[in-house]
Chain length 242, copies 2
DNA sequence: CGGCGCGTTGATTACTGTCAAACGGTGTGG
DNA sequence: CCACACCGTTTGACAGTAATCAACGCGCCG
């Protein structure tokens, strides 16, 4: 089995150099691993975590509910994402984190994280960075929700997932696994299930994607990006000193 | 004139104790101050800031544009908000920051910030906290955009601004100044100007608010919160060790 | 006084939601 | 091994929220 922190280090390496020393610090972090079935809660709303959770494989999402029971996902997390690093300073969860179609996660005590941040301010900045990139993604979602029509929004989401999954080696050929229901997608892009279904079919009919069962194939990434008005700058996939 | 960092310290104090020592560190930070007219750009998209900007008075917003020219504001910042702290680790701005109806801002060199973070890890966490609270607000906006109808969304925005402005002493009685156009509001809640106007009138007609010129009066905050399904938890207005 | 930006209103269009039902794959129990 | 139930996907008809288009009012400034 590959190291627990492999995907995380891969994601960090994509944004800055990670020294041997820093790698060692990460790999010595204490943790416990848990498996979650689809729909299971990794972190509960209202709780006060003493550990932060790192997705090792599969998908997880942040979810919030509004008064009439409608659900909205505010982030989708993939392998290598340190999902609730921010609970270290936020203390109380204002939303929950759930597994989408099952996932594996490592839970790392805040104390351990504090220790490595003190030991390596640079590593601290890299962890800070990952919460800040989450923010950049959220801002982009805001823009998609507010100002893009349904078909473009959906295409944009696929482009984003494609780019992020590619970073951690989860795109094989032109395809990636996406073990979520159309209902999950609907709660991601703020549309009804029925309309999401129509939009997926539109993308299929345009020859942009194949979406069969739980695997998405991007037939022409350039055309899809063009259609989605997708600019990956916000993902900060540039390796530079931070 | 009151200290440059007064509003910031007020905002931090609302979330955790700030020691005399930490206060001194903040107040010794080098900075330069600039005034901005409404619509002027504080930080440009694509730029690589070497300073982070702190709003001293007035309003600023993050804005992004989509292909067809539509605009979306992804955050509204008020006095005491350290708007682009995250540029310290993000390096390249993926959006611009503009003044809404004029503002005053202090620009603090990243080097100075790095120094105080090294000097006081706790202060570092508080600065990290402020970027993370920004993230919490953004997540909430995502939920509002995705799953709330226009009238509720608008009411929610007013509740949020009310709560945040109250924190830094900018609510007098039941009113606060909001020197923005309905067009700005439209780009905030992802609606058309016309529809925003109708929703404002609906809130007025319901006796929830008065919105005259540039001042908003909340007639009954409890009813407004009820109507907006507003839960201030996400603003982290709780003073506790972080 | 005229131009201009912003707010307001009305009429019409259209995107997306809701309701309802059918279809298809998968797993379970008889 | 097949029938059935269940979950998720798909389709169609219709409803409703919000966008668009157009015009007008109003205060402010040159």
């Amino acid at each position: 089995m590959t190291g627990t922190f492999t995907a995380l280090i891969l994601a960090l390496e994509r944004r800055d150099r990670v020294s041997e020393e820093e790698r060692r610090l990460l790999e010595q972090l204490p943790f416990r691993i848990r498996t979650f079935a689809g729909g299971e809660e990794l972190v509960a709303e209202g709780s006060r975590p003493t550990e932060s959770c790192l997705v090792l494989s599969g998908f997880a999402a942040r979810q919030q509910f509004v008064a009439d029971g409608k659900r909205q996902l505010t982030a989708i997390h993939i392998a290598g994402d340190f999902v609730d690093l921010h609970s270290m300073v936020l203390k109380v969860m204002d939303h929950s984190i759930v597994s989408l179609g099952g996932c594996l996660a490592a839970f790392v005590p805040h104390t351990g994280l504090q220790a490595i941040i003190t030991a390596s301010p640079h590593l601290g900045r890299l962890l800070w960075l990952s919460t800040v990139i989450d923010g950049a993604i959220e801002r982009n979602w805001v823009t998609c929700l507010g100002r893009r029509p349904a078909n473009t929004h959906l295409a944009h989401l696929i482009c984003e997932l494609y780019a992020r999954l590619e970073t951690v080696g989860l795109v094989r050929g032109k395809s990636f696994e996406l073990p979520v229901t159309q209902s999950d997608i609907a709660d991601t892009v703020g549309l009804s299930i029925v309309h999401v279904n129509r939009m997926i079919q539109e993308l299929r009919a345009s020859g942009l994607i194949i979406w069969d069962r739980k695997t998405v194939t991007v037939l022409d990434i350039d055309r899809l990006r063009e259609f989605a008005d997708f600019d990956p700058t916000y993902l900060n996939l540039v390796r530079e000193p931070r």
